[in-house]
Symmetry: none
Subunit: 207 residues, 4 copies
DNA sequence: TATGAATGAGGGTTCATTCAT
DNA sequence: CATGAATGAACCCTCATTCAT
């Protein structure tokens, strides 16, 4: 996956990467809380204990912060998804593993996920963020493929529109970022288990 | 439900509300496509075939356009929800009716729903948009109550966390606005049927 | 005195001059209360029971309303001043008559006087309002001349700077417009009497 | 006295207040020359040798500049008035000292005084500028009280309406700001002496 | 005569960004 | 590394004015 993070041509010398990460984490939280457009660079600087101008020593633009946040998240996500997909599991087990990894990713990169959910659609149009669209395509291929494999294997119902089911699963998982709070009542794994139970078995009680 | 739309003391007189509605529909589409903050009033005016300043003959601010769009949508939604809730249906039938009405509402007010999804959380903080939070509360009461009634009636599974299930249902329905296109392959009712089937029966094939 | 009022090339037909006067009086009051710049043409229209655009049937601009108000006031003032100055009175009696006429003029054209006080200095720069400066010059000539005649006649003290005294008199009289309310406790003549008493005799009690 | 200037939570840090003062002085002069409403921030910026946006680094609005100008002037004025009033002088000497201090204040804060004269009445209505009204009240108390004390002490004439006399004195002093130019022919003290002479003794020559 | 709707030129303000120190 | 100050483009909004009806 193309990752603008890799061809980073920063102003900064390579030294002190911790400060960068701190600022990035701060920025991510503010972006998630207020929205990317609504967030001022000054607000981020305030939160990071510096002046707005000082941010430009570490990053060359507000947009590049966003870029790093999003690509960092997607890189991490795909590393895990790829290893699930390479494990040679059956369709149902693959879905279970993907869902579980997704909730874990929400737990790890909550802010980034929230930002992604809200901004990705608009961002995709810009060349700089084309990788978002590519990730989307790859994502659909993985999930939809698994679902279709499951239907073929008579593990999943065949009477449902595949793309509809895919969207249903995808949305169900990721919108959780809008209410999930790390350290809350349920662990990511517990949430995954319940979600899977609903998705796979439905919420209706069986006689 | 408090509705800022009702105590509108606008510049415009009562006559000729068509132009208002036209502009409002245009604004809603642009807001939905680009995000509220990212949308300039010039863009709305362009799209409406007028100059930016002219918008202010009909509305007194960009924010008040947003307000009317959102409150208009919620008013319509609640009129329908209320009549479903007043119909005295069983829990499963109530859920089915609510889901169906929701998809119909997405069909009717697609732009407004998309805007709501993206902006409501931040907007709620402003006093002017407090009604969004109130609607949210009422919404949760309706859905969660129906689910709990269903569990008590042994119609729904008792082993699921009720709030988790509620969120699952709620999000499942509404995020559809992010991909739904009116006049597409599936009618709102067809989408509702399939969604309900997944939610109620699960996606796993039964022996 | 040049009076833009005389070469009025209005849009309006000559008919219904009462409506004009009504609007003008309304405008004068609003200008006086809020300041010329701060007054919107719409506010005047509201107060006159019409829409902003409708004013332009009667007047061709906001500025021309101001012009008519101011020139109307000055025309009236000079008619009276001129007849005082032509009466051949002694210096003290002339001053007394001018002061009394001034307070009467404040009583008659309160709003116009207030506007004049506040806006004249800036307005003078514009060619259209050059007559304000000319009036000022003529005004100074009349008062200062009378004072100097009084000094020569040993009616007024000779140890005071003449221009200082002139300004003292002028300001004393006209600022009254800032607090005077027609129909209040004191009539214009009573106010004139007391002012004159102070100005001529001073406020110190004589042994 | 309430002073909005004191609870200033400005963008600017405490350091380098000189630039602020420069800009403020510039703004005051432009406000005085053109009127507050008629002054554009672009004009102030031009005069200060910067761009309009740059002003907002130092001040958070055009209004807050006005606020600082006015409250700065009033603070200074009251410091001096208060020390006069605390000096335990007789009525006539108190009036003389107040008048003299007033002319000195006009000399020091000419622009601020001119602005005050022209804008105070309208500004008072806004909560932010309520301190103008409070100052006015305190002002009247000080002057009117002194005048009444003087009448009781048989230093001033008893046959004059006290409030009328107060307004006469007040206006007489302050309108001088409309024509006074620092560094002109007469010093503030000289002007005060002549004004006092007129006010106390009158302009009529005594046999 | 008056209205409704629009125009268009600003005006105040925000904000990402730059840069000398 | 960070600050303080400034830039400049863009934004929302206001308002006098126009004009067809």
């Amino acid at each position: 996956m193309p990752n603008s993070n890799s061809d980073r041509k920063k102003t900064a010398v390579s030294a002190a990467p911790e400060r960068r990460e701190e600022i990035l984490a701060t920025a991510a939280e503010v972006f998630a809380a207020q929205g990317y457009r609504a967030t001022t660079v000054r607000r981020i600087a305030d939160e990071a204990g510096m002046l707005a101008g000082s941010l430009y020593y570490h990053f060359d633009s507000k947009e590049s912060m966003l870029d790093e946040i999003l690509s960092g998240f997607l890189n991490d996500l795909w590393a895990r998804y790829d290893s699930v997909l390479a494990a040679g599991l059956g369709p149902r087990e693959t879905i279970e593993a993907l869902v579980t990894e997704s909730f874990r990713e929400i737990d790890r990169h909550l802010a980034a996920v929230a930002i992604y959910q809200k901004e990705a659609r608009q961002l995709q149009a810009q060349p700089r963020f084309a990788y978002l669209a590519e990730s989307q395509v790859k994502f659909e291929k993985a999930w939809l493929g698994t679902l279709e494999r499951g239907v073929a294997d008579r593990v999943f119902r065949a009477d449902l529109d595949a793309r509809l089911t895919y969207r249903f699963l995808r949305d169900t998982v990721w919108v959780a970022a809008s209410w999930y709070r790390p350290g809350g009542l349920h662990s990511p794994e517990e949430i995954a288990r319940q979600y899977l139970s609903m998705v796979l078995e439905g919420i209706t009680l069986r006689g």
